[in-house]
C-alpha cells in the first residue's frame, strides 16, 4: 500500500558537511559519524538475545543519552549499533528544513556492508570498510576509488531502517494497525459468511418449493398456480351453491298434505314446485327462501307453487 501512494524519494547519504535540504522526500543513510558500532562475540545465539546484552556491550563507552540498539548477526559475531533517537531527531530537523521530508533512516553499516573500496564522501572524508565495520576517516589518509553518489544511486535499501516517529509521520504503530486490520478483516468475513448463510437458506427454500411442486403435481409458475386455483374455486363455489340450494329446499317447512313435486338445480339457478294447501302458504314459503336467495319468479296455479331462484 505504501508504495502505491508515496511519492518518489531520493536516497541521500547524510554526513556532517552535507548542505541542508529544503525540498523533496528522502531515504536517509546515516554516516558512521552519527552512531556507534561494535563487532563482538557474545555467548548467545539469536539477535534478540544479543539485543538484550547490547547496552552492557557499550557500557562506559557512550556519551550521556537515551540509546537504542540495532543488532545484526554476521557469521558468528554480532554487529551492534547504538544510536540516540533524540539526537538523530534533532539532526534530521537541522538538515531537512522547509518542505524537505524524510521517509526512512538507514545505517551505512548495513546499506554498504558490501563496500570493498575506499569511497569519497566529500573533499575531506572517506568511507572505508575495516574488517566488516564501516567507518569514516579523513580523506588525506586514503585514495578513494569511488564517490558516495555512485553508491547511493539506484541502491536497493535493506529492511534495517529505524523509525523515528516524527520523521516518518507515523500515525499509528504497527501493532495497532495489525489489530485494526484484523478487526476489519474479521467483520468483513463475518458479514460475508452471514450473507452466504442467507443465500444457502434461500436456496434451501427454493428446493423445498420445487419438492412440493413435484409432490403435489403443481405448475411451476405462480401465474399458472393462480389460474388453477381460480378455476377450482369457481367450481367449488358453484358446487357448494347447488348443494346449499338442495339442502335449503329439503328444509322447507311443509304442512300436512303438502309435498315437493319437483326440484331442478343447475348452474344457472334452481326451480322448485310445491303442492300447497292454500294461497297464503305462498307468502310463507317465499319469505323462508328469500332470506338466502333472490326469487326471480313465483307462481301459484292449481295449488302448485312454482318458485325460481337465480344463482
Amino acid at each position: 500500500m505504501k508504495n502505491l501512494f508515496q511519492e518518489n524519494k531520493d536516497i541521500l547519504f547524510l554526513h556532517q558537511k552535507m548542505q541542508p535540504r529544503k525540498k523533496g522526500r528522502y531515504s536517509v543513510i546515516l554516516s558512521p559519524q552519527f552512531y556507534w558500532v561494535k563487532k563482538v562475540q557474545l555467548p548467545v545465539k539469536s539477535t534478540a538475545q544479543a539485543k538484550k546484552l547490547a547496552q552492557s556491550v557499550f557500557e562506559g563507552n557512550l556519551p550521556d543519552g537515551d540509546y537504542s540498539y540495532e543488532v545484526n548477526k554476521v557469521g558468528g559475531e554480532f554487529i551492534i549499533i547504538a544510536y540516540d533517537k533524540e539526537n538523530l531527531s534533532q539532526l534530521i530537523n537541522d538538515y531537512f528544513i522547509d518542505e524537505a521530508k524524510v521517509d526512512a533512516i538507514y545505517f551505512s553499516q548495513y546499506e554498504f556492508s558490501d563496500l570493498d573500496a575506499c569511497c569519497a564522501i566529500d573533499s575531506d572524508s572517506s568511507l572505508v570498510n575495516m574488517g566488516g565495520l564501516l567507518i569514516q576517516i579523513p580523506r588525506n589518509c586514503t585514495d578513494p576509488k569511488i564517490r558516495i553518489e555512485d553508491l547511493t544511486q539506484n541502491r536497493k535499501l535493506s529492511r534495517h531502517k529505524i523509525k523515528l516517529g516524527t520523521f516518518e509521520e507515523e500515525a499509528i504503530d504497527k501493532k495497532t494497525f495489525i489489530f485494526t486490520a484484523s478487526a476489519v478483516a474479521l467483520i468483513f468475513s463475518a458479514l460475508v459468511l452471514e450473507s452466504i448463510g442467507y443465500k444457502k437458506e434461500a436456496a434451501k427454500i427454493e428446493e423445498q418449493k420445487s419438492r412440493m411442486i413435484q409432490k403435489l403435481d403443481l405448475p411451476a409458475t405462480s401465474m399458472q398456480l393462480k389460474s388453477i386455483k381460480n378455476n377450482l374455486y369457481k367450481t367449488y363455489k358453484k358446487q357448494k351453491k347447488l348443494r346449499d340450494e338442495l339442502y335449503l329446499f329439503s328444509k322447507i317447512p311443509l304442512k300436512q298434505d303438502e309435498y315437493i313435486r319437483n326440484i331442478e338445480l343447475n348452474e344457472k339457478g334452481a326451480l322448485i314446485e310445491i303442492k300447497v294447501k292454500d294461497a297464503r302458504r305462498e307468502k310463507e314459503i317465499r319469505s323462508s327462501l328469500s332470506k338466502k336467495y333472490k326469487i326471480v319468479q313465483s307462481d301459484l296455479k292449481d295449488d302448485i307453487l312454482t318458485i325460481k331462484i337465480s344463482s
Binding site: 434461500a202 398456480l225 367450481t235
Partner: protein, 131 residues
C-alpha cells in the same frame, strides 16, 4: 504507517465493510422474501391440493359414482359431450334420501339435478355429472 496511508486504509476499509454489509442486507432480504413466498405458496398449494382432491380427481369421481350406483342402480346412463346423465327411477323415500345425501356430501361435479315426485311414495332423479 503515515497519516495519508492511514486515511486511505480507513476509507478502503469503510468501503469494503459497507459493500459487505450491503451484500449481507440484500441476501437477508432475498431470504426473507423467499420465506414469505414459500408460506404463501404452501398455503395456496394446500388449498389447491384439497380442491383438486375434491373436484379434480377423476378416479375419486368414478369411485363416488360407483357408490351412488350401489345406493340405487340407474335405469339409464347416457353420455354427452363433457358429461354423463344418470336416471334413477322408482326410488322410495329411504333410497331417495340416501341418494340425495350421498350426492350432497360427495365431490362429484353436478351439472344438473332433477328430482321429481312420481307417486306419493315414489320419485325419480336425473343427475348430470361433468366428466
Amino acid at each position: 504507517m503515515s497519516q495519508k496511508n492511514l486515511i486511505v486504509f480507513a476509507v478502503v476499509s469503510m468501503l469494503v465493510l459497507l459493500l459487505a454489509n450491503g451484500y449481507k442486507k440484500s441476501s437477508y432480504e432475498e431470504y426473507l422474501q423467499k420465506k414469505k413466498q414459500l408460506v404463501t405458496f404452501e398455503k395456496e398449494a394446500e388449498e389447491i391440493s384439497v380442491l383438486k382432491k375434491r373436484f379434480g380427481d377423476k378416479k375419486s369421481a368414478r369411485r363416488l359414482i360407483n357408490t351412488l350406483k350401489r345406493v340405487a342402480s340407474p335405469t339409464n346412463e347416457k353420455s354427452r359431450p363433457g358429461s354423463v346423465v344418470y336416471d334413477f327411477d322408482n326410488l322410495n323415500n329411504q333410497k331417495l334420501n340416501l341418494l340425495l345425501r350421498k350426492i350432497e356430501n360427495s365431490g362429484i361435479k353436478i351439472k344438473e339435478l332433477k328430482i321429481t315426485r312420481v307417486q306419493p311414495q315414489k320419485a325419480k332423479v336425473r343427475l348430470e355429472v361433468a366428466k
